[in-house]
């Protein structure tokens, strides 16, 4: 594409006062806002604003499998479709899904499956559609977090919620929750997700370089961030019922 303004990255990602370019401290999260039940037609849905990321997720199921040959006689199947809108990125994305979107769909699906009781739904499918309408780094983490909320909103039995966040390294310093610039121009990036019923990591990717000590420290930083986001998820789910309750009282 030919654009008049170029997408340039600064040489330094940490300011002289030690803060990050957007003014955050090393372990601060970007502002996060979550809401459930935002798409009326869906069985369950959720919306998340995580920094500049804006993502919708909706869940349909259990329903008939289409195409039929994918159905399994002994359990249900979970399918995730992570897609980005053409206008969600700096250079317009082509409308057809690319390799990146298909890979992310798969890892999110594998990350969420352990919390579902698919064995109780033989011959059916659960479908999660994720649409990123604005992207600024960390969309797979935000998508996993919002997809778990949409599943809970749909009333599908779950062992627990799933929460996701990234840790990484820029200018030699470990940081939590990488923004778009930090992701592209930084040294390393490690998106993770946790399934709370067993406190285990269910999504893990890593790109870049880190030594053993840094890896240990960043995993500790991750734990703190995930706890914070988990409580926001719970609040978002509860607020739906608080709203219903207030509606009845009036």
């Amino acid at each position: 594409m030919t654009l008049l303004i170029q997408d340039e990255y600064p040489k330094k990602l940490l300011r002289d006062d030690g803060l990050r370019l957007d003014g955050r401290g090393l372990t601060d999260l970007r502002p996060i806002k979550m809401e459930v039940n935002v798409i009326k037609n869906a069985d369950g849905s959720a919306y998340i604003e995580w920094g500049n990321n804006k993502i919708f997720a909706s869940v349909y199921g259990p329903r008939e499998v289409h195409p039929h040959h994918l159905a399994k006689p002994d359990k249900g199947i979970l399918r995730v479709f992570y897609r980005m809108a053409t206008y969600s990125v700096f250079e317009r994305k082509r409308p057809a899904p690319g390799r990146r979107e298909k890979e992310i769909s798969m890892i999110i699906s594998e990350c969420l499956e352990p919390v579902l009781f698919l064995e109780l739904y033989p011959g059916t499918s659960f479908e999660i559609f994720i649409e990123v309408i604005d992207a600024d780094g960390g969309t797979r983490c935000a998508s996993t977090t919002v997809a778990a909320l949409a599943l809970a909103d749909a009333g599908i039995p779950m062992r627990s919620l799933v929460t996701s966040c990234a840790v990484g390294k820029v200018d030699g310093q470990l940081i939590t929750d990488l923004s778009g610039i930090e992701d592209k121009a930084g040294d390393s990036d490690m998106p993770c997700a946790i399934t709370w019923f067993n406190n285990e990591i269910s999504l893990l990717q890593f790109d870049g370089k880190m030594n053993q000590e840094e890896m240990t420290k960043s995993l500790d930083m991750l734990k703190d961030a995930l706890e914070k986001i988990y409580h926001m998820q719970l609040d978002a789910l509860k607020s739906k019922y608080i709203q219903i309750q207030e509606g009845i009282q009036q």
């Binding site: 594409m1 030919t2 654009l3 008049l4 303004i5 798409i39 009326k40 037609n41 869906a42 849905s45 500049n52 804006k54 919708f56 997720a57 909706s58 349909y60 329903r63 479709f81 897609r83 809108a85 053409t86 206008y87 969600s88 990125v89 700096f90 317009r92 409308p95 057809a96 479908e127 559609f129 994720i130 649409e131 309408i133 604005d134 992207a135 600024d136």
Partner: protein, 275 residues
């Protein structure tokens, strides 16, 4: 509200039809009333222009992106504006995954034709250097929830996204396009405001802005795109048939409804500054 199914039961169809015959609708509107519109612009930070528009339960988020390319040989000093629609499977169980189907192509084309045949997008302002460099605008509509009448909602969404756009302004220096540091805004890009006005038809009853249950039981619909004085495109779809008198009546009705809607929405308020 009834469930969304491909096949509607006779009893539900009769309920909707009998009410319409009495001039009543299941959501309490009159025959010639729109559901409420709600417009938010500038919602997508990565896009050059964006609008999040709801019409009742229907919600469409549109973004504008640009590219610079060579003009068509027969129009050497005009830019291009393309309109695309995605019916996301997240928006309704009736939408399926995969390449654009007939319904999404119809939505994009009807909105596109309404805009193209009006004096709306100023394609000559989208030229940086004759025969060398023009803007290609991509107006992409994403349906987030399908509550019926996507065309009228999409039309307003596309227009609001274009009007709230800020496209980097280019000049031709040393055989390449360069940014001047300023922007093209909605005032420069847009002139007339065409609105798509859609009517549904069940038996011989015609009504404005079909909601999803009405759309599912109706025989068809007709969309008229109108500017202040003229009709710029018409699309009849579905198996409904219209008499000549009905079409004449709808042309008049559409102009009148669009005039009121244009005043009510006041889309020009979303223009952004050019510096």
């Amino acid at each position: 509200m009834m469930d969304i199914k491909r096949v509607i039961s006779t009893i539900e169809k009769n309920y909707i039809t009998n009410n319409l015959k009495k001039g009543e609708r299941i959501d309490g509107r009159g025959l010639w009333d729109y559901r409420p519109f709600c417009i938010k612009t500038d919602t997508i930070s990565s896009a050059e222009g964006s609008a999040d528009v709801t019409l009742g339960d229907t919600r469409i988020i549109t973004g504008v992106k640009y590219d610079i390319g060579e003009p068509f040989p027969d129009l050497p000093n005009e830019g291009v504006c393309t309109i695309m629609a995605e019916l996301l499977p997240l928006a309704s169980p009736l939408f399926e995954r995969g390449p654009p189907d007939e319904e999404s192509i119809e939505l994009a084309r009807v909105v596109d034709r309404g805009i193209r045949h009006a004096d709306c997008v100023q394609t000559q302002k989208l030229c940086i250097k004759e025969e060398k460099a023009v803007y290609i605008l991509f107006v992409d509509m994403y349906v987030i929830n399908h509550g019926g009448n996507m065309i009228d909602c999409g039309g307003v969404s596309a227009l609001a996204a274009l009007i709230s756009s800020r496209i980097p302004k280019g000049e031709w220096v040393d055989e390449v396009p360069r940014w001047t540091g300023k922007y093209l805004n909605g005032k420069e890009l847009i002139n007339e405001l065409p609105l798509a006005i859609t009517f549904g038809k069940i038996d011989d009853i015609i009504f404005l802005d079909p909601s999803l249950p009405e759309e599912l039981v109706s025989d068809g619909r007709i969309t008229l795109s109108v500017t202040e004085k003229e009709i710029t495109s018409i699309q009849k779809s579905g198996i409904a048939t219209f008499t000549i008198e009905e079409i004449k009546m709808l042309g008049e009705k559409a102009l009148e409804i669009a005039k009121n809607l244009r005043e009510e929405l006041n889309i020009w308020q979303y223009v952004k500054n050019s510096t």
